[in-house]
Amino acid sequence: MNSSESKLLDRRQFLKLSTGSTAALVLGFCWPLSGKDSVSGEDGIFVPNAYLEIHANNTVTVIMPRSEMGQKIYTALPQIVAEELEADWSKIKVLQGDLNQVYGSQTTGGSASVRTQYDRLREAGATAKAMLIQAAAITLNVPVSECHAESGYVHHLSKDRKLNYGSLVALANTLPVPKNVTLKDPKAFRIIGKDHKSLDGGGKVDGSIKFGYDFELPEMLTAVVARIPKYGGSIDTFDATEALKVPGVTKIAPISAGVAVLAENSWAALQGRKKLVVKWNDGSHAKINSKKISEDLHVALEQEGTIIRSDGDADKALETASRQIDLTFEVPYLDHAPQEPNNCTAHIHNGICEIWVPTQSPGAAWWAAKSVTQFDDENIKVHTLRMGGAFGRKLQSDYVRDAVEVAQLTKLPVKVIRTRTEDLKNGFYRPSSVHQVKVGLDRNKKPISWIHKLSGPQDGWAPIITGGADELAYDIANQKVSCVMTAQPIPIGAWRSVAHTQNAFVHESMIDEVARKTGRDPLVFRRELLKNRPRHLGVLNLVEKHSKWGKPLKDTRARGLAVHYSFNSYVAIVIEISEAKKGINVERVTAAIDCGTVINPDGVRAQVEGGVVMGLTAALYGEITIDRGEVKQTNFHNYRLLKMDKMPEINIHIVESTEPPTGVGEPPVPPTPPALINAIAALTGKRILRLPLKSQLA
């Protein structure tokens, strides 16, 4: 939608919200809601909204309907508004919006904040600008056509007079909201596409920014919950005698997820938890372990699967193929392990349940509080706090439920914190899955059949396993993709890039293996099969050039490649590795991304760097395992993260584009593990079929 008359506003109810004062011009978009806020927390794409305040002192406050967790939307979204508003960037402030139906859905996920709010935020800025221009025209008694806006002022062309936005807000507030606004020609952008520094960067270097874990209320208690360790288990009995002797411990009581220890401070709560003796009942899944889960997933592949993609006749094409290549891949459960463990503060007072929570989904948090308390809707209040990382984990609201149940035990506000151990053991993990792939080649070694059957745990939302599996981009005429779901008690959830993590690994490992087995260069081979996919080719060409693909390396070095489309963006990665005494070293990563119009290039580069690190961590070490019904990993010594000394150099290249903006936070993750595994195949000839790499090369 370039420079075009926006029709969107016609279709929607457009409310001008009263602030009760004329000191600020407040614009809110409100779309009819389907009953209550129906945020479920799983789906990343919802109806977006925008909200903007312009103050008499010229400050422009952009209120964020989505939450910040390190993805820099506190800067990127204001850039979009400020562009169309012709605002003075130095006057922009950002404020977190609480849960409020006026915003519609407020879930942050699916790399969706920029791509789904782009048009609306532009309209929000353009609408405000139009009203300010009109107010100036009235004030100066000149036609609107003689006025234009620039850097926080409305200028009158012929008379060389200007009025700042602040001076216009009182009058602008009395004007009708225009139904149609003209958006800028992207060629005239001066804020979008620039490397503006984070609006909240300063608070991150001096300790002043408050995360959920830092939240504090007067008289607040702190609690930890000894959570039921085994899946399907329960509390048998508990003995609180010793725990209650810890100075500061005020109460110990069961909640549905375990036994809560309430105390006057964190350390007392943690000590009380240590002294608490609980006898647990094993329950129904006490024997489950990773080996059994893996066996079940392999056995499941013998069943007929649900077809999720069918092009041509893949079975017949396989029969006629001159050569067939079969591989079976497996990936483990993964935890998000954001640096800030889950926490939530709750206070139940005068029939009101109020919660303060670092969350990607305030709507899901609201539902958790509602289902525990059964209070009337208007008596449940959610305040969104800043997250110290999330990666999908803070879409869930298990920790909100704990906090609200604990709050029912006391009149005081209470912050319920998880230890790292409780956090790791009570995850909603990226699911484990098994993938059987068969590729048939014709006499000219061209792939003519692709059959991919996968099995994974069921949770009622198939895309958590299948997402991306049905989107193989390669030009293979006959394709069949099917999936078998098995029942497992391990909770699963969206992990940065969701099912693309496993399906990109499978696609890109398999295609690479076909290239190797047929003696083809992996990049040239891909290029041939992607000849009708210009944006895939764009990132491939960019990464080819900058990684020096094809330039010979020493025998002790090799490169691997992967390219993948997810969240509407295209990413190609080349990883260069070298032989080490034990295993390999990751030397250099070259990444190319096409994410359409770029709002903040440095923000994109930061997300690619972070996504590559997360992908490498998963490929090298990432694995949650189950033994006797419970998660074995307890802290960072047995759930390892990549450290500074293993960090490769990362070079990032962004495709120049005028297409609409697309996802950034997640797309760099999926191609990273296969690029590494393909480099290992190039260096050693060994095809790694199961992640993580761990000691498989030792």
């Binding site: 960067g201 991150k204 270097v205 300790g207 954001p338 800030e340 110290g388 990382g389």
Partner: protein, 152 residues
Amino acid sequence: MTLFTFTLNGKKQTVDAAPETPLLWVLRDTLKLTGTKYSCGQGLCGSCTVHVDGKPRKSCNLPISKVAGKTVLTIEGLGERGLHPVQKAWIEDEVAQCGYCQPGQIMTAVALLDKNTHPTDSDIEAAMKGVLCRCGTYQRIKKAIHTAAEEA
């Protein structure tokens, strides 16, 4: 409970605490200095790093009894009289993503530069490898340490 006195961010501070209470919780809960973060509680991640007598220490496993009489600097004290060059470099190079690990990263980097004004990449890796960042900001941390070294 016992009284412990130490110097905190340039001022004398006395707290009443059980001797085994980790400095981390004294800072966060008793003194309301929440810039120092909890992440693993077992000395494995470095998010809780502060300076004790000028050296980087993980405060989550350092009992308050061992801090008595010593000098402690936290992220809040570091820039009290204007941002430290490391903090400025962090802003300049847009290091932080979520920001949760960054107080620990910054305190560790300041301690490195205090004893080594021009560290090499491998000096930086050796000094910083104990501080985890799930957001993956390591490349920028390295760059910002060089920036700070040049500007100091």
